[in-house]
């Protein structure tokens, strides 16, 4: 462990204390945990505000005026100012209606980006990727698989994709008894899709547990290392 300077040592001790306060939640909710979380939220929120103000808003809105002055005043800059000020009026209920324009702009841009990205970045490429050839002679570029092994894998991928999509299909017809039921084929396909989803979630659960375990190991090692350095001198 490298020598710790005074400030680093003090900071490390604070970090260790906070780590212990948060880990105490394993025993149950307690004031130490709440205090640590509130401190964290305050610092995180303050930092986020500072970085947004200093690295985004100030350079875009104020620096052009301070640097170039009048020539910097363009229509884009003026509209930027107007939009930001209108959005600021959202803070108070009495003036909240004035902030609808910038919010509408945000929503319009965001919705369009989501739609365009989903269509061009996921729907089309993933649909094309699912339509992999079932030719046994083809070779998988990434894994080098070929033959039946590859065909089986392609089929599993295809079945998994289709059945998972079918599981999220909730269109049903009203039967003679009045209950809404799906067709038998759809129900069977959806059940298979549920199995694939359960399998996928199992893999995701294991991955999340592994990630959390790595973080736990890092935190415990930090505590051990700090105490060792303190005890060791």
């Amino acid at each position: 462990m490298a020598d710790l300077t005074g400030l680093d040592l003090a900071g490390s001790m604070i970090a260790a204390l906070l780590t212990i306060m948060v880990l105490s939640y394993a025993l149950g909710d307690n004031p130490l945990f709440r205090a640590a979380v509130h401190v964290f939220v305050g610092v995180a929120a303050g930092y986020a505000g500072a970085i947004a103000l200093r690295t985004v808003l100030w350079p875009r809105l104020v620096d052009p005026l301070l640097g170039e002055g009048g020539p910097a005043i363009s229509s884009v800059l003026v509209v930027s100012w107007v939009l930001v000020l209108l959005l600021a009026l959202k803070a108070w209920p009495s003036t909240s209606a004035w902030g609808s324009l910038p919010v509408a702009l945000l929503v319009g841009v965001g919705a369009a980006l989501v739609v365009g990205g989903a269509v061009t970045g996921t729907l089309i490429p993933q649909s094309l990727a699912a339509m992999d050839t079932l030719n046994p002679g083809a070779v998988a570029p990434l894994t080098g698989e070929t033959g039946l092994e590859r065909v089986a894998n392609v089929l599993i991928l295809l079945i998994g994709t289709v059945t998972t999509l079918a599981y999220f299909q909730f269109t049903a017809r009203r039967g003679p008894s009045g209950e809404a039921t799906r067709s038998r084929l759809t129900t069977w396909v959806a059940d298979v899709g549920r199995g694939f989803i359960a399998l996928t979630f199992g893999v995701m659960y294991a991955g999340a547990l592994a990630a959390a375990m790595a973080v736990l190991a890092e935190r415990i090692q930090f505590l051990v290392g700090l105490f060792s350095s303190l005890l060791g001198g």
């Binding site: 604070i14 305050g42 500072a50 945000l106 841009v109 890092e218």
Partner: protein, 211 residues
């Protein structure tokens, strides 16, 4: 008057959305230029919205402290830390060493510790799942999770043996084939839902921006 204003907002959303959406499919300099400006305004407004959200956070906790509601000391602590960090960050910049120390010795350890608690919670959740639930889907879930855990983590003994290789291959097969199929289906479903939601907004059916 209110009805006319809401139509204006709808028109703004549709107009802006159409231009941005067109940029995905049309390589027209004029459209791309306008699109670039609109997206830059959106980035700027996102930063302003972040600051607005922080103001709301401050006002909520300030109100709590003012009225001395239940848990107000924690809110006071939050407000204090927020104001100190924000003031220092705005005055000296977010890359100021003191601010970086606050980030490094407060934000990072607390967040990491919260994530570390997740390991305990996930382990307990797994234990309870296999102990109580006895249906096919839970069985599939538990078995796959166990196999992937075995294949992901190191083995204390027999780490280089055939069993380890078998488990690792099985883990890779589950994760890269079976789970990939399900994941692709989930991704397609998510993309379809996002497309539908976005189109509803662009067509004015949904108006999350208010009237």
């Amino acid at each position: 008057m209110r009805l006319r204003l809401s139509l204006v907002w709808v028109a703004v959303v549709i107009g802006v959305g159409l231009i941005v959406l067109l940029g995905f499919f049309v390589d027209q300099p004029v459209i791309l230029g306008i699109r670039r400006i609109l997206i830059s305004w959106a980035v700027l407004l996102s930063a302003a919205a972040l600051v607005l959200g922080l103001y709301n956070l401050l006002s909520v906790h300030w109100h709590k402290v003012s009225l001395q509601e239940r848990g107000w000391p924690y809110s006071a602590l939050l407000v204090l830390c927020f104001l100190v960090t924000l003031t220092l960050g705005v005055l000296f910049g977010p890359d100021y060493p003191v601010i970086l120390m606050l980030f490094r010795y407060i934000q990072v350890p607390v967040e990491a510790s919260l994530m570390a608690l997740l390991a305990i919670s996930l382990t307990v959740a797994g234990f309870r799942l296999v102990a109580r639930r006895r249906d096919l889907l839970s069985l599939i879930f538990a078995i796959v999770a166990f196999v992937v855990l075995l294949g992901t983590g190191p083995w204390l003994v027999g780490g280089g043996g055939g069993a380890y290789e078998l488990v690792r291959d099985l883990r890779n097969w589950f994760a890269q084939v079976w789970a990939a199929g399900g994941a692709r289906g989930v991704l397609l479903g998510v993309a379809l839902g996002a497309t539908l939601t976005g189109l509803r907004v662009l067509l004015g059916s949904d108006r999350p921006y208010g009237d």
